[in-house]
Symmetry: C2
Subunit: 235 residues, 2 copies
């Protein structure tokens, strides 16, 4: 797997860090052989492998420690569509908290690591998990905000959607402390097309147009944003 990875979130930056006993463990508690109980070991996930499957019983909420993931739903007609991406520091499976089952299948776009929180850690009859819930609330609120972008896609033209997409990616990378104006996209043009509700060809053409307009540089999956604010203003 020679593909370059997305960088990992440092645990201190993770919204869930004070919930995550992995973090404590690494620091001080490792020697004590403390029972990890119900929280957050880290797990490797190889490229193409799924973290959770739509319709399966909700057992764990996940947080991305390293790598990038896509959520996929299968429409009634059998067609698959990408509904979102999850980067380091973000959560996976949020919809399961209320429904009791996963609503989307989440697949690794590259080798990565996830931390996980068993459903029992925030079930109704627990008392001593105030901190966990606080962290989850924050992360979930963030997801609500991220998904808000997605909803706006329908209202834009192809070129604008791609611009908005790049802007969103950039903002999220920036939030988690990664480079915001020069990065390698972890997903294929097909994934982007599916996510934006466009044909692959249209995505490709849009990239070229933005390039021609001097807003970005593109070479395959490598992207440099020449003028991020122009991208936004354009949308």
């Amino acid at each position: 797997m020679a593909q370059k990875k997305q960088p990992a979130v440092l645990c201190p930056q993770c919204e869930l860090n004070d919930v995550c006993r992995q973090y404590e463990k690494d620091d001080a508690l490792r020697a004590a052989g403390e029972s990890l109980g119900d929280v957050t070991p880290q797990n490797n996930v190889a490229k193409g492998v799924s973290v959770c499957q739509a319709e399966n019983r909700f057992e764990y909420l996940y947080a991305v420690h390293e790598g990038a993931f896509k959520s996929v739903v299968t429409l009634p007609g059998g067609e698959e569509r990408v509904t979102g991406f999850h980067f380091a520091g973000e959560i996976i499976g949020a919809e399961g908290v209320s429904t009791g089952k996963y609503g989307r299948t989440v697949v690794a776009l590259q080798d990565g690591q996830v931390c996980y929180f068993p459903e029992t850690a925030f079930s109704a009859d627990e008392n001593d998990n105030s901190k966990i819930r606080q962290g989850l609330l924050m992360a979930m609120s963030h997801q609500v905000k991220n998904e808000q972008w997605t909803g706006l896609m329908a209202a834009h033209r192809a070129e604008q959607r791609v611009a908005l997409f790049l802007f969103m990616i950039s903002k999220r990378f920036e939030f988690h402390g990664f480079s915001s104006d020069e990065f390698r996209l972890p997903m294929s043009r097909d994934d982007i097309a599916s996510y934006l509700g466009l044909a692959v060809e249209t995505v490709s053409r849009s990239f070229q147009k933005l390039k021609g307009a001097g807003m970005i540089q593109v070479s395959g999956r490598n992207v440099i944003l020449e003028d991020r604010d122009a991208l936004q203003g354009f949308s």
Copy 2:
């Protein structure tokens, strides 16, 4: 205001009911003159009035007790777009929990009532609010699920978007115990068009086509779903 209202959620059905002291108050505590402390009075909101404004400091999270609301964002270009709808039993302002400010302006589509939860009720340094957080987690997880529909809109044709929209509305009404196959839409065609990213004319034509196909009956804002599953399968 002669317009017929959307029905109200009964408090026992509300996801936030065990968080809501209003409910207790109505039941047993009213006589005791119990301090309501930091939670959930109900407030009337007249048609066209906003509950919260984008960019303002996040002070309260709201729950819809009665009525229907729309969220609106103003794009960089100055254009306004509808990003979502909120019905009885659903929450308003979720994105503020993490960002500290509202991300959208939320406006009443008709006279209604909201319950509200001050920011302090679930801030990090409180201990005794486990139940509140539990209720909020549930409600927020629901919102994540609802917004997932929105993201799928971009991937569909006009007619399919409208079908999916009606299906989504129906599902949400059903979840909160209202009639799921016959209802009056609280929002205008303009709102629907903005939300779906279509021209008003296209929305109108789509309604007529679905009608012609025998999937629905429409008369202005009154809708009867003849075959809800067909609507979904169609999408």
